[in-house]
């Protein structure tokens, strides 16, 4: 049984008490301690900047050409915080409750409560850094709603909130780089973590430009390397997003928790062809005002697919606003897992609206009309024409969601102001990740995981606008405190040598692996295997899963992995800039992770959040949890082949929330 090291005492006091009682490192001693941070997204940048401000010597690594490009930059909709500026009944407790419920009761109470507590500081901090959040005419901050909640607690900067928050963290990081407190390594990839005497003491990195393998030592290592949605090949993740840093840590002893918990986001632009390299998200914020529907009659759906019927010509009574129909209390703002499954259900039943049959409509017509009427009232227009109302309404929608509408038009060549958008669920986020205790430390002493790379706060389903909150909470306000408790033992250790046998062996193993890729006598590009892995994962470990498919998938992935090593062609040189070589290493790791995900999904004989086992559903087709047997975190220990991983459990205890069947009706 795993020990989460959750502090004692009442939930609301745990974090404060913990901070008051953990050990500190005095400023003079911090200067003697080195910390490595891998990844520069919200969690990594904020952690690196905060640790450096406190006085630690930080080395930060990113594979992109600048820390500002980490994939947090692409987050669109917003960031949650329990500020209750809207006076709509929000509170720390309500944010905590919504998050645990939204995660279908598979997250750790103490972590989620801490997240809700520090959420308010995040907004204060970001505003102080000059992050230009959206404001109302009175000069105060504006909010909007996201799925799974009944309050407006989401702060945003148009559809580019992640960009603005990351640039804020990047500016804090840049300030520390200029002071020399952070040494930044751009275009570097972590190849392995080095364990000395049972503790994480450094990493092996590759300079992606020169190909040089480097040994970096430190007193602690923080992985903020993001999620692994790219195991599905097609996802909303960036092309370079990968699991390698986390996976290497897993192979060196860090347990992987709930790897099968994947978030399939309901509102993405549907797949259009075989060549497709990634999917594009349309922010969940669009569900604030957009209405989701399919034709109510199968023959209308058929005609729409053939292109003989325009959606705008389908009468109101012939439309099935299925989310509003099934979930009247939350309507279009049900959580992501629920909305995604509902879309799949309609499309499987033959009501899909594009030529692949895998798309539903997201319609702005009524929002345009509603906003237009309000504007006309504000402008004192009497009996405005329908055309005028639409014009005014479109202007409001443009101001709120303009960049998203532009993006949609750019990709699909369709005008979303005139005709409903077509959307379909796509892989977006992974709730699973490295197991961490309350201090964000993995099962390897001195090895920490923050942000999407850890598993801690979202349970089986993440609510919208909570990823940004968690990344910054971990990096700014949690890890900088908790890491001190561990490093307090290291004030007399002195610099860690990077030429010990442990470093040399890890370096040799990395070089050996890379040489094998380059020397392989294959004929098939890396992407080919990645695409095939993605198809196996999507078909068997996607929105709906069952025993038979998962069992088969484990075998298929194992076979694909063997084929990969036999037939992959990695062109170019070892010493030099070679993106195909980088990709080969990442896909090799994904080929192992995928197998573990399927095993995890197979062994979790229940449905919860994004994990839907067809064998376990209610009569209405909702996820059916089995709390008696599965109220635990699955943490997997590496034992050779992924399918041989050993299960460890962390029991989830709910002292403050009653476990209920989730209902959004």
């Amino acid at each position: 049984m795993l020990d989460s090291k959750t502090p004692q005492g009442p939930l609301a006091d745990q974090w404060t008490n913990h901070k008051n009682n953990i050990r500190l490192v005095n400023p003079a001693n911090k200067r003697l301690i080195d910390v490595i941070v891998v990844g520069t997204g919200l969690a990594g940048s904020s952690a690196a900047a905060s640790l450096a401000e406190m006085g630690y010597n930080v080395k930060a690594f990113c594979f992109q050409d600048s820390p500002r490009r980490a994939h947090s930059i692409a987050a669109q909709g917003g960031i949650n915080a329990a500020k209750n500026y809207q006076n709509d009944g929000d509170s720390v407790h309500r944010l905590f409750y919504d998050t645990v419920k939204g995660g279908d009761y598979r997250s750790r109470e103490a972590n989620v409560h801490r997240l809700a507590e520090v959420s308010t500081s995040i907004i204060d901090q970001c505003v102080a850094q000059g992050v230009p959040f959206a404001r109302e005419y009175g000069g105060l901050l504006d909010n909007r709603s996201f799925g799974g909640v009944q309050v407006s607690r989401t702060f945003y900067a148009k559809g580019q909130t992640g960009q603005q928050l990351l640039l804020g963290a990047y500016s804090a990081l840049s300030r520390q780089i200029s002071k020399g407190k952070v040494k930044m390594y751009n275009r570097h990839e972590m190849m392995d973590v080095v364990i000395v005497d049972g503790k994480a003491r450094g990493i092996i990195a590759r300079n992606l430009v020169t190909g040089e393998i480097e040994r970096h030592s430190a007193h602690a290592v923080v992985l903020a390397s993001g999620g692994y949605g790219n195991v599905f090949f097609l996802s909303t993740n960036a092309m370079g997003s990968n699991v390698s840093a986390a996976w290497k840590a897993h192979k060196k002893g860090a347990y992987m928790a709930n790897p099968c918990f994947t978030q399939i986001h309901p509102t993405c632009i549907p797949v259009s062809g075989h060549y497709q390299s990634k999917l594009t998200l349309m922010s969940e914020s669009l569900r604030n005002d957009g209405r989701i529907w399919v034709p109510a009659k199968a023959e209308d759906a058929e005609a729409v697919r053939k292109g003989t019927l325009k959606p705008t010509d389908i009468k109101e009574e012939d439309r099935d606003y299925y989310l509003e129909r099934r979930y009247p209390a939350f309507g279009n703002l049900v959580p992501r897992d629920v909305a995604s499954r509902a879309a799949k259900e309609r499309c499987d039943a033959g009501f899909g609206v594009n030529d692949t049959g895998e798309a539903v409509f997201l319609d702005y017509a009524s929002a345009i009309e509603r906003y237009g009427k309000t504007e006309a009232n504000v402008m004192n227009l009497e009996n405005p024409s329908d055309e005028k109302v639409r014009e005014l309404g479109k202007a409001v929608v443009k101001a709120k969601y303009g960049n998203l509408f532009d993006m949609y038009r750019q990709i699909t060549d369709d005008n979303p102001y005139e005709t409903p958008m077509k959307i379909y669920p796509a892989v977006h986020y992974t709730m699973g990740g490295l197991w961490v205790d309350y201090n964000l430390m993995t099962t390897v002493p001195g090895l920490y995981a923050a942000g999407e790379a850890n598993f801690s706060d979202h349970g089986a389903n993440r609510l919208g606008a909570s990823a940004l909150m968690q990344g910054l909470a971990d990096g700014y306000f949690v890890l900088p405190y908790t890491i001190g408790d561990y490093l307090a033992d290291d004030i007399r250790t002195g610099a860690i040598a990077n030429d010990t046998p442990e470093f040399m062996e890890a370096e040799a193993a990395v070089k050996d692996r890379l040489e094998k890729f380059i020397g392989n006598d294959g004929d098939t590009p890396v992407d080919d295997f990645h695409r095939r892995l993605g198809r196996i994962m999507w078909n068997n470990c996607g929105m709906a899963r069952n025993r038979e498919d998962l069992t088969q998938a484990i075998e298929d992935i194992s076979a694909l992995r063997d084929e990969f090593y036999a037939k992959v062609r990695v062109p170019g040189k070892l010493n030099g800039y070679n993106p195909e070589l980088d990709k080969a290493g990442r896909v090799a790791d994904l080929l192992e992770l995928g197998e573990l995900m399927c095993k995890d999904a197979l062994e979790r004989e229940e449905s919860c959040g994004g994990h839907f086992r067809e064998e376990h559903q209610t009569e209405e087709g909702e996820a059916l949890r089995r709390d008696d047997e599965f109220t635990f975190v699955s943490a997997w220990e590496h034992k050779g082949a992924p399918k041989d991983a050993e299960l460890h459990k962390e029991d989830l205890v709910y002292d403050n929330i009653e476990l209920k069947q989730r209902s959004y009706k």
């Binding site: 500081s121 900067a157 580019q160 960009q163 532009d406």
Partner: protein
């Protein structure tokens, strides 16, 4: 559609570089430009060649990593888009497309179409921040109301993705649009005021040190900017720079 691609190949910053010609078929209009490049690289790898190196990551127009000079234009034809959001429907069957890297002495070529833009990072490090520690113990976020118009304009400036299209487009390889966008974001917000003069002085100094050229007000940068960063930012920066030079900070 069938295309003739003339692609810049260069082994490293010291290599002279050359255009290499490829014939590519099976391209469809719904492909993004980078997906077309994927198809090209797939073909090259299967034929035993060395694929074309190009920078890319998010493929949704926000990370700022992709950077191609296509037919003489940064991010190719079309306004308000990055290379990853450019779709092949902007081209027609039989077209010849010339693809080059950003060209500026401050952006040395890493390989083929990838360039080194760390000069931008160093300009930000020189002062592109508000010096506030990340304690969370700051004022309440609503303590200082900010007029919506100012907040919106600061946001508009802050949407710069740091791709470098402005530099690549400018005949002098000037970075004024990039630098002024960051200077403006903070100049428009109350939080940016205490360091306003010091910030602009230091960022401009660093910009000059990196070897970017001077601004001659042709405005080409703003035309090619995928995020529509406005020229008025440059005017604002010039005013701030002059005023801080005169007041000696």
């Amino acid at each position: 559609m069938n295309l003739t691609l003339k692609v810049w190949r260069q082994d490293g910053p010291e290599d002279k570089g050359r255009l290499e010609t490829h014939q590519l078929s099976g391209v469809t209009g719904d492909m993004s430009f980078l997906e077309m490049m994927d198809v090209l690289n797939d073909k090259i790898i299967r034929e035993g060649g060395d694929p074309v190196v190009f920078d890319h990551d998010c493929r949704e127009g926000i990370c700022g990593m992709c950077s191609m000079f296509i037919n003489g234009e940064a991010h190719g034809p079309g306004r308000g888009v990055t290379t990853c959001q450019l779709h092949m429907r902007s081209f027609k069957d039989g077209d010849t497309i010339t693809i080059e890297p950003w060209r500026a002495s401050a952006f040395p070529v890493v390989k083929d179409l990838a360039v080194d833009r760390s000069a931008f990072d160093r300009v930000i490090q020189a002062g592109g921040y508000v010096s506030v520690n990340t304690s969370g113990e700051t004022l309440d976020a609503n303590a200082i109301p900010i007029p919506k118009a100012d907040a919106d304009e600061a946001f508009n400036a802050a949407t710069c993705i740091g791709c470098g299209a402005c530099v690549a487009t400018c005949k002098n390889a000037s970075a004024m649009l990039f630098v002024s966008a960051k200077v403006s974001q903070f100049a428009l917000l109350p939080q940016g005021q205490p360091e306003r003069k010091r910030r602009v002085t230091r960022m401009v100094e660093q910009m000059d040190k990196e070897g970017f050229g001077n601004c001659t007000n042709t405005g080409a940068c703003a035309v090619e900017c995928p995020k529509g960063i406005d020229l008025s930012n440059i005017a604002r920066m010039n005013r701030d720079f002059l005023s801080s030079s005169l007041t000696g900070e």
